[in-house]
């Protein structure tokens, strides 16, 4: 009985990944435009660093390369993290746009399966896109990764996905609470994360209130630890505290966000918000 139930849910889990794969394929032109947009954004940051010396900021070549690597790692990670966040956060909005929200919510599957399926699809897609952009950066910039500890960077990267999914699920609650304004609020959350998480600067430069909020963002630890591993060659052992913090944040954020989602679903059913028009 349990095995049958697990098989049923796994089948549905795969169904969400398969559906997203089909959607990405069908919307290939949109996806190509977004990929280009992301690539151009990251390249702009890279060339900004390259142009610092010509703008009169006299620095040694080594410092410039270090600054460039710092910014590019931030830009690349932000591209990945924001894309995964966006895909998860807009899971509900997308279904509302398409008009399938009622059909999906009426299906005899656990909401956990629905959310995890969407998260898995977002992760696979995010990694694929970030990999394309990362390869482009390696080809276009002479990045000094001679000190990089790839194993540690990968471990931090993997650990960071857990709290990231929690944040995404939290944000996907917003369109359930407010069909009209929920998706704009998701953009606002994404913007705040960009500001406070140290994507392009260490968070110590922020005013104290923003700095304190930044300490609570899992993206802050991800960016800082991955940079340390790639630029300074920080070892896996030394990265364990950051990995621990990320996993701890994930252990809190994921169950809390799923609980929040279930409460929001109950509210949406009470108020009649599970409709394509809301």
């Amino acid at each position: 009985m349990i095995a049958t139930s697990v098989r049923f849910e796994l089948n549905a889990f795969w169904g969400f990944i398969e559906r997203q794969k089909n959607l990405y394929r069908r919307y290939w032109a949109w996806e190509a435009v977004w990929l280009l947009y992301n690539l151009v954004s990251v390249l702009s940051i890279g060339y900004l660093a390259s142009g610092l010396s010509s703008l009169g900021f006299e620095q040694s070549q080594a410092n410039l390369q270090r600054a460039q690597l710092y910014l590019l790692v931030g830009a690349l990670l932000w591209t990945y993290l924001s894309m995964v966040f966006f895909e998860v956060a807009f899971a509900i909005t997308w279904e509302r746009w398409e008009g399938t929200i009622e059909y999906t919510f009426m299906a005899p599957i656990r909401r956990l399966t629905h959310l995890l399926g969407m998260c898995a699809a977002a992760l696979i897609y995010g990694i694929a896109r970030a990999a394309i952009i990362g390869l482009s950066l390696i080809l276009l910039f002479r990045l000094d990764l001679s000190h990089a500890n790839y194993g540690a960077a990968l471990a931090i990267f993997v650990a960071s996905t857990v709290p990231l999914l929690g944040l995404g699920i939290f944000t996907s609650v917003l369109p359930l609470l407010s069909p009209e304004k929920g998706d704009q609020m998701a953009f606002a959350v994404q913007g705040v994360l960009l500001l406070i998480s140290g994507v392009y600067y260490p968070i110590k430069v922020l005013p104290l209130p923003l700095h304190l909020v930044g300490v609570l963002s899992p993206l802050t630890y991800t960016l800082s630890a991955v940079r340390d591993a790639l630029i300074n060659g920080r070892s896996l052992g030394s990265s364990l505290p950051s990995i621990g913090i990320l996993l701890l944040m994930g252990a809190v954020l994921v169950p809390a966000s799923i609980w929040c989602f279930s409460r929001a679903e109950v509210r949406a059913k009470r108020l009649g918000l599970l409709k394509r028009s809301g």
Binding site: F8, N11, A12, W14, G15, F16, E18, R19, N22, L23, R26, Y27, E98, G99, T100, I101, E102, Y103, T104, F105, M106, A107, P108, I109, R110, V266, K269, R270, L271, G272, L274, R276
Partner: protein
């Protein structure tokens, strides 16, 4: 999902004193917000639907039909009363209810860029299917519905409304529901597509494949398709019976029609109400 032995003697649908109100009465909590006017969508509705056959819910726009269907589909929770599907409570046993139902709504709910096959594969996966043989089943179902097979891999948006509605019905067949909730499946279709969809619904009755709850404001459709009809207006059940019984008891004129019966019961014509805002 097939009906279990323990569910055989249980009614398909049983609704008792079901009420649902939208919006809030009184003043808003925030002074800058206007309070929404409340609307009583369902007002202590009680009804029973026996298994197999087609039961029509006949009412004008805004009468509460869709609200009732959405409660049975576990998409909406009632304020008061109970609704059960094959004995399972639509609120407290929603997962069990979902295993028995499927729904065809007035607008076909599809990913428009995806093909019928991709949409149906997604649906099959959500209902435990999607393995080997699914494509053959889908093709057989679509053929039965008179859809050319070359439509199977074209984006849904390229299909006509009638074709989309047929795919929606095919999708519901694919999951073998015991209760099929059809919410105005022919609204907005051209006469030919409407006829074809109606023939499909008739075939469900002939095959006794599922119990069908059909919401409609089309009196002719209700008369042709339904074994029993429940007339609903302003969230209340006004009458129920076979179309012939309703005409006999409520038409009020010799040789009357279901429209005459409806007018007598509700005091107005359906067309007048079609102008009303949908719930």
């Amino acid at each position: 999902m097939a009906i279990q032995a323990s569910e055989v003697n249980i009614r398909a649908v049983e609704v008792l004193d079901l009420s649902k109100r939208f919006g809030r009465t009184g003043r808003s909590r925030f002074p800058w917000r206007k309070g929404k006017s409340a609307k009583q969508a369902l007002d202590r509705v009680s009804l029973r639907v026996d298994r197999a056959g087609i039961t029509g819910i006949l009412g004008a726009n805004g009468s509460g039909k869709s609200t009732l269907i959405r409660i049975l589909a576990t998409l909406l929770t009632p304020d008061a009363g109970t609704a059960t599907v094959f004995g399972y409570d639509a609120v407290t046993e929603a997962a069990a209810v979902r295993r028995h139902i499927n729904r065809v709504s007035v607008e076909a709910s599809f990913f428009k860029e995806m093909s019928p096959w991709e949409n149906m594969l997604y649906a099959a996966r959500l209902y435990g299917g999607g393995g080997e043989g699914t494509r053959a089943r889908v093709e057989a179902t679509l053929e039965r519905l008179g859809l050319p097979l070359d439509t199977l891999d074209r984006p849904m948006k390229q299909l006509s409304r009638g074709q989309q509605q047929k795919v929606a019905i095919a999708r519901s067949f694919l999951t073998s529901p015991s209760l099929l909730l059809m919410d105005e499946p022919t609204t907005g279709l051209d006469p030919r597509s409407k006829r074809e969809v109606q023939e499909l619904v008739t075939s469900i009755r002939r095959d006794r494949a599922a119990t069908v709850l059909l919401c409609t404001h089309d009196l002719q459709e209700a008369e042709i398709l339904c074994d029993r009809v429940i007339v609903i207006d302003r969230g209340r059940v006004l009458a129920e019976g076979t179309p012939a019984e309703l005409i006999r008891h409520h038409a009020g004129v010799e040789g009357g029609t279901l429209e005459d019966a409806f007018m007598q019961l509700t005091g107005k014509r359906l067309l007048e109400d079609e102008e009303e805002k949908d719930e």
